[in-house]
């Protein structure tokens, strides 16, 4: 058995999640190279920050952003990752872990970190498709898919998970109802008063909250259709999310005969009933307690690593944990015993107008619990008082007003002792952060995150970490730019710059830079093209395009290739061509000796390898046959793909080709924040792939379905359904309005997919579908802009515009 590396011990981790991988990290830090490590993970990818699934669902983060350990990390640490294969059995006698697909790995030490499973209520219909839990990225994908169809979601459970799910689904455009069994929300973290404030805040966001709602059954035939309450009420639902609790995932441990209660039983060393098997994370039960937040898991990871590497005899002791709700705009914090009993006293502060409620619970001279709602900035300070059992008698009167008034000289983090925990998720103290800043000369939040992991998980301590940076660096640290600046030349974000252009009537790039205090004399390659576009969009009739602020392809009206030659793609309206056009292309290819002719993925023909000085001639000959630039090089309208449609196809319901040509005639020549692609399919078989386009049209018997914000590129995104319209005139108007809304609202280099994810499909629907006058006005602004844009750039250059681009200045032999 020991043939491979006889000296190293074999460690097998079951469960590629937060607790398990943290333990492995702690082990690597203590004893690098001591173990041959294999990690089994049931999920098919590396490790990610599960906490951040809520922001992913809400569209505030992408999945890539929450991946904490990609495959490269495992490779770099010589760890074998068996992803997508759960461990099905543990042979404790032979000491072998056995994967469900047959992978066998012997071990000297086995670490169980299988997490927990969502509780699924035992009601009829609970297993119908469309009923899910909220635990992993697969669940989030299911929810996002459902949200793209719009419709109704019901979330069962008004705790942390349920409310974060509800918020995400609402932000993704679904109508959402939260059902909660108890009289008030989050009863395990909030007192009734703050719970009511929370319910009001959620309702104001358009989330319906029903308390004392007991689910009796879920109805539907092949998928969920409605949900029935015990009082007989029925609620329509296209998606049901069960967030009623979690249960330690102990099936494997139980089968292997390990001692289990609610969780896998571990002692203070995180050891199970088998001396070769440790367990950490939500799957464990320690002194009768089970877990549901990450903070205790980090402690477990340290103890467990100490023990596995035999570097210290540390013991695990559970501590208080604090909770924050990750719903952007809702500020709450809760920790310890916040309800109290006969032996406790409470201090309550209330500012109804601002929606602030604070409740502190004291036993004797000590703070034992706190709930803050509406203003939770001081959460960390209270948390620290609770954890350390500080005597608060002296400041008792002013305690509720926070450290600023409670007699502690400075307020906020300055006031905290070095031992105070700043990042609850990762257990990082103030002292540790300050030491890292000093030792490594850190100056940015990201650098602190990378070094210490503080604020790298749920992010709710970010303001405190920034305050520490400010404290350490003084004026050298500028924490203000919460808004991402356009580029290094400015502190202003895209939206602020666009607003200034409009409101201050700025009409040239230098004028914008002057008015907004650009730090570089003429910007950079990142801001200049953006400003050029913003100005074109704001002042289509008067702005003079600044060629020198365009990327080479847009300046040359051809795509530069890696060898410095260019490609030429003439427009083929709706993908339709003629013998005469094909003949003209063939002649051009022969005449200029063009090396490659290729049919593109956009239903037209690409001539590749054209030399710079040949471009005007090639264009002239193509122009002569009636062909114009296809803008294959631009942040502009690219192609309109079509299928044959009702004219020929036996399934076609409408003339999709004709519709596509009409759309391309209307939209060609427009400059946009990023490229824009359209497609029209003649029936739902969708041969033109309209549902991955920026604006896709699918014909149906009774009219046209309009789909928006698809993307077939780096990350495929299926469109959201905008609406259905009856006539081809409607299609043109909605398309023009959508183009203009995108042009006016998106940041430069933001595809429609990303823009819609940022602003929400609801917003787009409200501006384009619900508001008929607004739609007509947008469409009209688009057409007005097009009046100035629809001139063939090739013809202009053939006529001599920017002729210097295509000729050398001098030739010296």
């Amino acid at each position: 058995m020991n043939m491979i590396s006889p000296t190293r011990k074999r460690l097998v981790l079951v469960g590629n999640g937060m607790a398990g991988i943290r333990t492995v990290e702690e082990i690597l830090a203590r004893a690098p190279g001591e173990f041959d490590i294999t990690v089994f993970g049931a999920e098919p990818h590396g490790n990610y920050n599960r906490i951040m699934l809520s922001p992913v669902l809400a569209g505030e983060k992408s999945f890539e952003e929450i991946v904490t350990h990609d495959r490269g990390w495992y490779a770099a640490n010589s760890i074998e990752l068996v992803a997508g294969e759960a461990v099905a059995a543990i042979d404790r006698d032979a000491r072998v872990a056995q994967g469900e697909h047959g992978t066998m790995r012997p071990y000297d030490v086995l670490l169980l970190a299988t997490g927990s499973n969502p509780v699924i209520l035992p009601v009829p219909g609970a297993l119908l498709p469309g009923v899910i839990g909220f635990r992993d990225i697969g669940d989030v994908e299911t929810m996002l898919d459902a949200a793209r169809q719009g419709g109704r979601a019901v979330v069962i459970g008004g705790g942390l998970l349920g409310l974060e799910a509800a918020n995400g689904l609402r932000r993704k455009g679904m109508s959402v109802t939260v059902l909660h069994l108890m009289p008030t929300l989050m009863e395990r973290q909030l007192d009734p008063v703050s719970a009511r404030l929370l319910a009001d805040d959620l309702r104001a966001r358009g989330i319906e909250v029903l308390t004392e709602a007991n689910t009796k059954a879920i109805h539907g035939d092949d998928r969920v259709r409605a949900l029935e309450l015990a009082d007989g009420r029925e609620i329509a639902a296209d998606l049901v999310v069960m967030a009623v609790g979690i249960r330690p995932n102990i099936a494997l441990a139980k089968d292997a005969g390990l001692a289990c209660g609610r969780g896998v039983r571990v002692d203070d060393a995180m050891l199970t009933s088998d001396p070769h098997i440790y367990a950490v994370g939500e799957c464990v039960e320690h002194r009768g307690q089970v877990f549901g937040l990450v903070a205790p898991l980090w402690d477990m990871a340290k103890i467990c690593a100490d023990r596995i590497t035999a570097t210290a005899d540390s013991v695990y002791e559970p501590g208080v944990t604090g909770t924050r709700l990750k719903v952007t705009g809702i500020d709450m914090f809760s920790a310890g015993d916040f309800l109290g009993d006969e032996g406790t006293e409470e201090v309550v502060f209330r500012d109804a107008a601002r929606g602030v409620h604070k409740r502190l619970v004291l036993r004797g001279e000590k703070l034992i619990g706190a709930v803050l709602y509406g203003e939770a900035r001081d959460g960390g300070w209270y948390f620290d008082l609770i954890r350390n059992g500080t005597d608060v008698a002296e400041m008792r009167d002013l305690l509720v007003f926070g450290p600023a008034l409670a007699g502690v000289a400075e307020s906020g983090v300055e006031a905290l002792p070095d031992t105070a925990e700043i990042c609850g998720c990762n257990g990082v103290s103030k002292g540790k952060i300050l030491a890292a800043i000093a030792e490594h000369g850190l100056t940015t939040l990201d650098a602190v995150r990378a070094r210490t992991k503080a604020s790298a998980s749920c992010g709710s301590c970010t303001c405190n970490v920034e305050a520490l940076l400010a404290l350490a660096l003084g004026a050298g640290y500028d924490s203000v730019p919460k808004i991402k600046p356009m580029c290094k030349c400015t502190t202003h974000g895209h939206d602020a710059v666009r607003a200034a252009i409009r409101e201050q009537g700025l009409r040239t790039i230098p004028a914008v830079m002057r008015a907004l205090g650009w730090s570089s004399p003429d910007g950079c390659a990142s801001c200049r093209p953006a400003l050029n576009f913003y100005l074109i969009c704001a002042w289509p009739a008067i702005y003079r395009d600044h060629a020198r602020s365009r990327f080479v392809n847009e300046r040359m009206h051809a795509n530069i290739q890696k060898d410095g030659t260019y490609s030429v793609v003439p427009r083929m309206w709706g993908g339709v061509t003629t013998a005469a056009e094909l003949r003209a292309i063939a002649d051009v290819v022969d005449r200029y000796d063009i090396p490659t002719v290729k049919v593109t993925g956009g239903q037209r023909i690409d001539l590749l390898g054209v030399k710079r000085e040949q471009l005007p001639d090639v264009w002239r000959d193509l122009n002569a046959a009636g062909m114009v630039s296809g803008h294959a090089y631009g942040k502009a309208l690219r192609t309109v793909k079509t299928c044959v449609g009702s004219e020929w196809c036996r399934f076609g319901t409408q003339d999709s080709t004709g519709m596509g040509i009409a759309l391309e005639r209307m939209t060609w020549g427009s400059w946009t924040p990023h490229k824009v692609k359209l497609a029209v399919s003649g029936c739902p078989r969708n041969c033109a792939e309209a549902t991955i386009k920026d604006f896709g049209v699918v014909a149906v018997d009774s009219g046209w379905e309009l789909h928006v914000a698809g993307n077939g590129g780096i990350k495929v995104r299926v469109t959201d359904l905008l609406c259905k319209v009856a006539t081809s005139d409607d299609v043109l108007e909605y398309c023009g309005a959508f183009m203009q809304l995108y042009r006016e609202g998106a940041h430069y280099l933001e595809r429609t997919a990303h823009w819609v994810e940022r602003v929400g499909i609801d917003y787009v629907k409200q501006r384009i579908v619900a508001d008929a006058d607004g739609r007509a006005a947008l469409h009209e602004r688009f057409l007005e802009s097009q009046r100035h844009m629809q001139a063939d750039p090739w013809a202009e250059r053939v006529a001599g515009v920017e002729a210097h681009e295509f000729r050398s200045l001098a030739v010296v032999e």
Binding site: S520, P521, D522, G523, C524, A525, R528, P529, A547, R548, S549, R550, F551, V552, N553, R555, M556, I560, K562, G564, H804, S808, L809, A810, V811, V812, E813
Partner: protein, 110 residues
């Protein structure tokens, strides 16, 4: 600068007005392309038209300050010294260049 290139012969290649501000023109020199840049304040610089990264044509890049951003992969190259800005590393050869009134002169080795 003149002193350093005492050996150079100055060759007139055209007027500074032939080069767009914040742009470049190409001069074909013994079969090789030289990019001659003009900044916003009419500074004129000449570099071999080849990025130290993968030979992108610097003449086709976006000029800002005294730098040009390569059109192929966005390296930023200093016009005065031909050096890639951090974190990239590499250098493009510079060619001496001089203005006489509006006339642009390139220094060519004898």
């Amino acid at each position: 600068m003149d002193g350093d290139f005492a050996q150079a012969a100055w060759h007139e290649i055209g007027s500074v007005d032939d080069i767009p501000r914040l742009g470049a023109r190409i001069v074909r020199l013994h079969g090789e392309d030289i990019a001659v840049f003009r900044t916003a304040s009419d500074g004129v610089f000449a570099l071999h038209d080849s990025c130290p990264h993968k030979q992108g044509q610097l003449s086709q890049g976006i000029v800002h300050g005294e730098s040009v951003t390569c059109p192929l992969h966005n390296w930023v190259i200093g016009l005065a010294d031909g050096r890639a800005k951090e974190p990239d590393e590499g250098c493009t050869r510079t060619i001496p260049v001089r203005l006489e009134g509006r006339r642009v002169l390139l220094g060519l080795e004898r």
